[in-house]
Symmetry: D2
Subunit: 301 residues, 4 copies
Amino acid sequence: MQALLDQIAAEMATAPDRGRVASYIPELAKIDPQQFGIAVALPSGEVYSAGDAATPFSIQSISKVFMLAIALGRLGDQIWARVGREPSGLAFNSILQLEQENGIPRNPFVNAGAIAVTDAILQNRQPREVLAELLRFIQAAAEDDSITINQAVAKSEQATAHRNIALAEFMAAMGNLRNPAALTIGTYVHQCAVEMTTTQLARAGRFLLGVPGAPRLVSLARIRRINALMMTCGHYDASGEFAYRVGLPGKSGVGGGILVVAPGKASIAVWSPGLNANGNSQLGTLAVEKLARGMGWSVFG
Amino acid sequence: MQALLDQIAAEMATAPDRGRVASYIPELAKIDPQQFGIAVALPSGEVYSAGDAATPFSIQSISKVFMLAIALGRLGDQIWARVGREPSGLAFNSILQLEQENGIPRNPFVNAGAIAVTDAILQNRQPREVLAELLRFIQAAAEDDSITINQAVAKSEQATAHRNIALAEFMAAMGNLRNPAALTIGTYVHQCAVEMTTTQLARAGRFLLGVPGAPRLVSLARIRRINALMMTCGHYDASGEFAYRVGLPGKSGVGGGILVVAPGKASIAVWSPGLNANGNSQLGTLAVEKLARGMGWSVFG
Amino acid sequence: MQALLDQIAAEMATAPDRGRVASYIPELAKIDPQQFGIAVALPSGEVYSAGDAATPFSIQSISKVFMLAIALGRLGDQIWARVGREPSGLAFNSILQLEQENGIPRNPFVNAGAIAVTDAILQNRQPREVLAELLRFIQAAAEDDSITINQAVAKSEQATAHRNIALAEFMAAMGNLRNPAALTIGTYVHQCAVEMTTTQLARAGRFLLGVPGAPRLVSLARIRRINALMMTCGHYDASGEFAYRVGLPGKSGVGGGILVVAPGKASIAVWSPGLNANGNSQLGTLAVEKLARGMGWSVFG
Amino acid sequence: MQALLDQIAAEMATAPDRGRVASYIPELAKIDPQQFGIAVALPSGEVYSAGDAATPFSIQSISKVFMLAIALGRLGDQIWARVGREPSGLAFNSILQLEQENGIPRNPFVNAGAIAVTDAILQNRQPREVLAELLRFIQAAAEDDSITINQAVAKSEQATAHRNIALAEFMAAMGNLRNPAALTIGTYVHQCAVEMTTTQLARAGRFLLGVPGAPRLVSLARIRRINALMMTCGHYDASGEFAYRVGLPGKSGVGGGILVVAPGKASIAVWSPGLNANGNSQLGTLAVEKLARGMGWSVFG
């Protein structure tokens, strides 16, 4: 395992096409695209890693996985009255389907859907209560209390959140927002700014392994469902491609991280800031494909 | 296993909401919606079944799985120049994305994509050669030489194939059709008219199990990829829902059949002619969900 | 003329299908749908009227005509860098095309386009300055200083402006908004709340007649262009229908008013609060059709 | 008038950006883009012309105007059960709206709508009967019996008619086609291949002037309605732009011709084979704009 990770990290270090760092969030635009980290956590918490696996980065949309788990715990299947379970066939921040489908986002992993989930978790609470709950969840999953939010990133995102505010206000117009858009989006940009190292993220993902030894934060039935959604919707309009090439459920973030689950076997995290055309980490996707092939991991046979 | 199947068949026999039989193909519209069959084939070929598992039905779009396997064998990755690998977010027979995406269908399991696959397999051959190749493939997978095409169904579909012809002609206009539309659609309606019993279909699906004992018609790498596509795209715009509820790759047909793969464990076939709003078997989906839950089968944990 | 108007008003008084009053703005939802007013102003200012032509109503989107005239005066053709000149083929408040067309609204008469126009007029000024300029323009056109804004309606619209805020924030995300969305939308809801009687509106429309005697607030070249846009885009996705049935340029408002121009001949205003499925006054459209036919007015022959 | 036409023709002769000749119909792709012709016919039939006004060209979509007039004569308002009256907001050959709007094309001037009109006129007749009726209509309007169909162009279009066949088959699938697609499209490609000189076309357009002296082939009420449709839908997704710049109803064809009506005053034809991005004659549009401005012709004031 360690040898395979070292080999992948070495290959990635010299990869010529590293994608492009997300430019619309100023704080993220500064990140050095040369960085690459990979980590594999076994159910027990034992971690293998290579590259820049100890460098903290912004988990961005990977936070949607933890928030969905929290929402299912708080609201159960009621959450599905506010968000669907289908791949969108469109970009992560599209507003088009929202108009065509009465303000109900396609799934919890596109921006509109994640905003609806955050709004549902908020209820009548303050954003800081929800963010504290999210950090507690992630810290428990990673068994690491040091994980926190990068306020500079949150502030930077808040300043350029026009499109997310548009999604929230549009849902408000369709009756699918319970809190003021400013409150929900304020919470949302902070959840995206949670900062973790690749190693921490791999450890946190163990709650989706569904086997003894891993932290048990949600039931096996819910683990399966969250993994299913990661498989069909976790990489926006490249989810089919990820399933085809990697064969494991995963969730990417615009910060360049990807969390991947080999059910029962291992939680994988990878990070490289350069993104491909669909907004997923260019080298991260490639690295996970190599790892899965090398280990023979696939849920499909 | 047998007890579970019997119990499911009994429940389905009295289900009040059985969906609606496809009405646009006259021969299919005649089918009695009261029927229900389920069968589970182990890698070895051993089959458990219940209900009307010995009644032949039209596999329709399930044929797309076999054709994709043949296309991958004949053309390898070249097939992906003509069809994508992403869920569509739209109905099975939508022409909209074809216009927005330059005549390249979203995936091989929506109608346009399957027509492109059939067209690619045809090359300069006659339709009957391709259909003979398909039947040989299915017969080998099922280890059953009696499987054939229902000519009455094919003829009935040909007469109402306007929308599929439109898809083919539109692809021709965009440079993504190699044969005359009449030839490709003629082949396509016949492949949809392959007739199998639920038991035969369950046996034929074993080629996707990827374990010793099952017929090995394609490589393990391809098995995984076909299963991945069934997971993300196998149920049209309800693929996310099927992944969420059942947790196994599957492909539905408008004849009411569904082929489901529990990788390494079993091939499952179910049949009930009434369809839900997305064009998938209403009771079939429900039955497979119960079976997967009862057996603890899920690729997601 | 008077006899024709009296006859139309009498017919409209007993029309059984009066459409539905706009319900999404609480203040408008209270309006009595039994009301109907019609007025025809000759270039000289002479007015013929019938029905409730002296009752003030909210001009709503008809304000977009006056604002476009002001924008053309202030910015000239530069305004066309921010908004197009084509019918949309979609509903008045659609956000879909904004996404597909890089944040440039289709025309100045759909909501998004009108918001872009308001934003362009605002520049670095305060909303009250812009609103004062609008009132001065309308008062000059109508030669009536008593026209003002209904603050209760403005406040009511502000409280339910989620969709318009979404349009503004989306344009901000695409780089097509210069002022904070709150400022632009604050101005926009107030311009919609200008209150006029049918007679006042008919008199105000004379600035589009393009003949001596009528107030000359814009050049003949601009009059023609504004009228052209009213013809192709003035009734949202029913503009073609209005051109076909009435044959004159017009602009409708969700308050139930319609301003119609018979170039060189007369300015027509009609008001009836009940709307048809496209958001245009049901009886207003019918009444203008009868008037145009009765007078033989059409720009098309 | 003659001086103005000569001046326009001289300017157009040296215009650097002439657009691009339609390439998808091989016979049209051969045409020399240097050509330019313009002609103005007064109601009496007196014609002023300049440039290559005596060179025959393919009228293509301008035939849709004559066919609509015939359809209104044969079927009256029943034709509107099969086609709408709204601008599409999309390209001339789009199939997208057909899917979203149940197979009812937006208007008679987009391809799908014109195919529906042709299909409606066909009824149970042979294509040659319909084509003879069309030629008689055009010959009567132009008072010129020499106008005929270019069979080479028709044959060339037939060979590349995939997209139009797709539109027809899609409408067939939605229940909006009465004849076999091959028959309707066969008629359609021949109607597009009618060949006329610019002078002949200008003379033929007089039937839309609505004043004594011009050939009276349809009632004044219908003239107004046809002109209204030309204004809102005659230039595909650049109809708003044409109304804005020219201010007169017109219909363009992919052969580079445009027929424009100055109601009561003159019928204008212009021809230059190079097209702009919307599929309308680049120089033709410009020339008509100059002519209308020079003459002070506009329906809008």
